[in-house]
């Protein structure tokens, strides 16, 4: 077959692409759908009882290769992505509800108040004897698997020598941040133990650095201790991570589904809480997202057995790495970054990346390299690309930013203090940087959509009417001044017919939008009830000058004519 010349190939492909663009449906969940609004059906709970799936080991190197090369190249041959980009129609998450939120699942649980704190009941007993039942000798960051005196199992991890507090602090602090954000993580805490209380169990095998399998001895433990710092009192600081309950099934991937888990029906790259991890990870500088840092467990809860998805291994997060402070390039470049290599090559090295020019000093040895200067929430790069993160839309980003902004100052301090750092100044410094990165994250993603949320209806004090109230999250979290905010509201008939009802009006922060009596509105909703849609935009009038109107939020209301009440049944955002 004669080879098709490039020009001829283009002649064939370009009209095809153009036709595809025309054939592509209009922007779906990113902008507004048709009226009357019909809330999407909730997905079934993915914590239903299932038979035990098989363990599915994933080789970290192979997975990194597939993500870095196979997937990246194959995406070049998938013009649908290009069509979506050109038509401004990004593929939205498949598991978002009528408000753009996600339901509690085996991936994520909404945690609030004291439920966001992990507690310390999972710490091993350091007064009793520990028995090593499995070796963890490979790599430059050795650790050990131990049972404490009560038989509970833990993975014990250490700081690199000369960097006391760095990795163990990151391990504990970041696990607690991600737990508070709603994700599943192993319970862990900082411990100080005496090496004399640790013995090697019977018949423990290890694979040494040279690939040989042999029985572990006390000398191997000494080899581990030689790589870590001891305090003057002989104690060793470590992060103890409790074993995740249930049968280990191997890691979860940032794309696809687990074939043998019938609960796992949404491709991971299209789960909002997985996509939004990109926002949360960027904030917490969790760079290493290789498949070894996720974990599936066949767990039993409330009598049901299902696959629960965990995030694990945080010792290389925040300002830490397993070798010392995180290298300056982390978060700015993938480990192999063809894009950056291309820029470096083509600019003959004249382009010096901002991270190379900026301040990369380590301010506090226990904290490592965790800066807010130069941090860009959308430009944070990971060890290798992840399809779920590449699919992140503004709506996913907004969802993630809401999670990030929900960490108030006192919660952040509380979580950082769980790292039990020796230097109080390091804690103060760390807390400030985390807060700064949080606010940068909020400002960025809240700027991509209209950050109006928490819509609710209230009876007016005289009881004669109903108002629709909302919160401007930028104002609520102190990112913007309430006095500068101005909101435009438009009421639309629920079936989309006719002109706005009544005329558009401007409202100030804290004010609500008065709604007409439900009995006076046509029963045009999807369930034959009165329906309205309220469209909001906002602008910030700085220094007396009116700002640009933002993208819109459309709030859907369903009326009860008999009770004269309105209920918010959904909110859509312009992407």
């Amino acid at each position: 077959m004669p080879a098709m010349r490039p020009i001829r190939l283009l002649r064939v492909l370009l009209p095809g692409l153009a036709l595809s663009a025309l054939a592509a449906p209009p922007a779906d969940a990113g902008s507004f759908g048709d009226l009357p609004f019909r809330p999407p059906a909730p997905l079934p709970d993915d914590r239903r009882d299932i038979p035990p799936p098989e363990e599915r080991p994933v080789n970290v190197w192979e997975d990194a290769w597939q993500r870095q090369f196979t997937t990246q190249f194959s995406e070049l041959f998938q013009p649908a992505r290009l069509v979506r980009m050109l038509t401004g129609n990004p593929k939205q998450a498949l598991n978002a509800d009528a408000f753009g939120d996600v339901a509690n699942s085996s991936w994520y649980v909404r945690r609030e108040g004291a439920g966001r704190l992990m507690g310390s009941s999972a710490c091993p007993d350091t007064a009793g004897e520990w028995t090593v039942f499995k070796a963890k000798m490979q790599g430059k960051a050795p650790g050990m698997f131990v049972k404490d005196s009560s038989g509970r199992r833990f993975i014990v991890k250490f700081d690199p020598k000369g960097h006391g507090g760095l990795s163990t602090g990151a391990e504990v602090v970041n696990a607690r941040f991600l737990f508070a954000a709603g994700y599943n993580v192993p319970a862990n805490c900082i411990v100080h133990f005496h090496p004399g209380r640790v013995k090697v169990g019977e018949g423990v095998k290890l694979v040494d650095r040279r690939g040989r399998t042999r029985e572990m001895t006390a000398a191997d433990l000494e080899e581990v201790y030689a790589l870590v710092d001891r305090r003057p009192d002989g104690l060793i600081r470590a992060a103890a991570s409790a074993f995740i309950p249930g049968k280990g099934l191997g890691p979860f991937l940032y794309e696809g589904t687990r074939p043998d888990d019938p609960n796992d029906i949404v491709p991971h790259e299209h789960r909002r809480e997985v996509r939004a991890l990109r926002v949360i990870y960027a904030w917490l500088k969790r760079f290493d997202i290789n498949s070894g840092n996720t974990y599936d467990s066949y767990a039993e809860e409330d009598g049901r057995r299902f696959v629960k998805h965990y995030l694990i291994d945080f010792g290389g997060d925040l300002g830490a790495s397993l070798y010392g402070p995180t290298p300056p390039a982390r978060g700015h470049e993938n480990v192999f970054d063809p894009h950056q290599i291309g820029i470096n090559l083509l600019t003959l090295g004249l382009f010096v990346p901002p991270w190379e020019r900026g301040d990369t000093a380590v301010a506090h040895p226990e904290v490592g390299r965790y800066h807010s200067k130069g941090f860009h929430p959308a430009k944070f790069k990971f060890i290798v690309p992840a399809k779920a993160f590449e699919n992140l839309t503004n709506l996913d980003g907004y969802w993630g930013a809401r999670k990030v902004m929900a960490f108030d100052d006192s919660l952040i301090r509380n979580l950082v203090e769980e790292g039990r750092y020796r230097d109080p100044e390091a804690v103060d410094w760390f807390v400030e940087r985390i807060k700064e990165r949080r606010d940068i994250t909020g400002r960025y993603w809240f700027g991509k959509v209209a950050p109006l949320d928490d819509f609710r209806t209230e009876r007016t004090p005289d009881g004669g009417g109903t108002v629709l109230r909302f919160q401007d999250l930028s104002v609520r979290y102190g990112l913007e001044a309430a006095a500068e905010a101005e909101y435009q509201a438009v009421l639309l008939p629920g079936d989309g017919s006719g002109v706005p009802l009544p005329a558009p009006r401007l409202i100030k922060a804290g004010e609500g939008l008065p709604l007409p009596p439900a009995a006076s509105v046509a029963a045009s909703g999807y369930r034959g009830r009165p329906a309205l849609a309220a469209e909001f935009r906002l602008r910030r009038n700085r220094a007396g000058a009116p700002g640009e109107w933002s993208k819109a939020v459309r709030v859907h209301l369903e009326g009860d004519a008999a009770a004269e009440a309105w209920t918010v049944i959904g909110a859509e955002r312009e992407e």
Binding site: L13, G16, L17, S20, A23, A24, P25, R38, P40, A41, P42, L43, P44, R48, I50, N59, V60, W61, E62, D63, W65, Q66, F69, T70, F73, S74, F77, Q78, P79, A80, V83, L94, V207, R209, R210, G211, R212, E255, G256, P259, N263, D264, I265, V266, P267, H270, S321, P327, A329, R330, E333, V335, D337, I341, N344, L345, L348, G349, V352, E356
Partner: protein, 444 residues
């Protein structure tokens, strides 16, 4: 041999395709294109969904229109995709079977002092090097190197360096054997044309013993005694005429006579590099020696050289390397210099982009400016650098009188270098001269 090598890529490609075929994800790909569009949308009624099936089917990652749009690309990319997946699986297998640690265990001793490593020499080709560190004293280094390349050019070398002696003295022992089958001789002088090239093989064996005195870590003085034997025989390069067809003993001294040279050489070296992956500092080498034929042939000559390099750090790891060097050979009355011992440009390390020994004469001068910048810094590893260079040089009977800017030969090019903890590990460079492109690769 060539047939064997030609077969390897095809077999390897078939192997990765095979691995890739077993690795291809079941949920995506060609078969998914025909998936029902009904499954693309979520059920509208949860009750209906629950009654239809307790576990609804998996949601497709792509909508039907996306599958159709992607179909041509999916077909086009099918084989490369399989190959990439297969390569990934192969990497996984290497890791799972701990092939690298096992190979490391076989090739490198437990204490790291003994190793067998792959190597590549610009002159001869691929080979292996055996190294033993700290054999007699800490810092001593024994190495055995063997390499072979196309047309059976090959090389073997033994070296035992930095053997400690009392005081600040060290001694080196070296024995090199080379059989270079595709050498080209273009004649003597700066105006020789490419068409003047003639092909020959050079077989050489040389042993050397040296004694070095160190002052601090940056200054050394080294005295070397050597005995070497060279023989010129027919070459194996079909692109050039045999040397005997164009040259004779008068125009190419040493062509018909074996040289057996005994020599003595003194070298002074000053090195102020800041690290094995240097970003600042420099080096100066001044050497001079006398060689005399002990086999009865009338070869005897002096050879002196000066080489200097200075690294100019710019910022953020960007460096300009400036090099200048000169070499002079001269002989006592009624004595001759074998043509292959004449200073020349075109050797690696002189003017890149020219054949080895493209220009030869009694004097040679050359200089180089090289700009290096890091293009990739793997985390925890040293940088991979890219470089651009411009080299220039000239040969002449006596360049102190004959130097002519019009006879300066220039070479330009670029390349990549990768440094490890102990220095340069690998480099690949391409140089363009007036006549051709030359590729330079070295490993370990």
């Amino acid at each position: 041999m060539r047939v064997l090598f030609k077969g390897i890529p095809r077999t390897a490609f078939a192997a990765v395709l095979f691995l890739g075929a077993f690795h291809a994800p079941a949920s995506e790909g060609l078969q998914a294109t025909a998936a029902s569009s009904a499954a693309a949308s979520r059920p509208e009624n949860p009750q209906a969904a629950d009654s239809a099936a307790r576990f609804p089917g998996k949601l497709p990652a792509q909508e039907p229109w996306e599958r159709w749009v992607n179909l041509p690309g999916t077909v086009l990319w099918f084989l490369p995709d399989l190959a990439l997946r297969g390569a990934g699986r192969a990497i996984g297998l290497v890791d799972e079977h701990k092939i690298i640690p096992k190979a490391h265990r076989v090739l490198v001793s437990e204490d790291g002092t003994r190793a067998i490593l792959p190597a590549y020499s610009v002159r001869t080709g691929a080979g292996v090097v055996f190294r033993k560190k700290d054999l007699i004293n800490e810092g001593s280094r024994l190495s055995l190197f063997g390499a072979a390349g196309e047309d059976w050019r090959h090389e073997a070398a033994f070296a035992f360096r930095r053997i400690g002696l009392p005081g600040a003295l060290e001694t080196d022992l070296r024995l090199d054997y080379r059989f270079l089958t595709e050498e080209i001789y273009f004649g003597i002088g700066p105006r020789r044309r490419h068409a003047d090239g003639a092909d020959y093989s050079r077989m050489s064996l040389e042993g050397a013993w040296s004694l070095a005195a160190f002052r601090g870590s940056s200054f050394s003085l080294e005295a070397t005694g050597s005995l070497g034997r060279d023989e010129i025989i027919a070459g194996r390069d079909d692109d050039f005429l045999p040397i005997g067809a164009l040259y004779d003993e008068a125009s190419a001294p040493g062509l018909d006579r074996r040289s057996t040279l005994a020599g003595g050489r003194l070298e002074m070296r000053f090195d102020s590099y800041d690290s094995p992956d240097p970003k600042r500092g420099g080096e100066i080498r001044i050497a001079s020696g006398f060689h005399n034929d002990v086999g009865g042939e009338p070869f005897a000559f002096w050879k002196s050289s000066v080489r200097a390099e200075r690294l100019v750090p710019i910022a953020h790891g960007r460096v300009i390397a400036l090099r200048a060097a000169g070499e002079r050979a001269w002989s006592p009355a009624r004595r001759e210099i074998p043509f292959h011992q004449l200073p020349g440009i075109g050797e690696d390390g002189t003017v890149r982009g020219y054949a080895r020994g493209r220009y030869r004469d009694r004097d040679a001068l050359w200089g180089s400016a090289e700009y290096r910048w890091p293009i990739w810094t793997p985390h925890f590893k040293r940088a991979v650098e890219f470089l651009l260079f411009a080299d220039g040089g000239q040969v002449g009977r006596d360049l102190s009188r004959d130097f002519d800017w019009e006879l300066v030969r220039y070479g330009f090019g670029g390349g990549l270098r990768y440094y490890g903890d102990e220095g340069l590990i690998a480099r690949f460079e391409v140089g363009a001269g007036r006549e051709q492109l030359r590729f330079y690769f070295s490993l370990n």
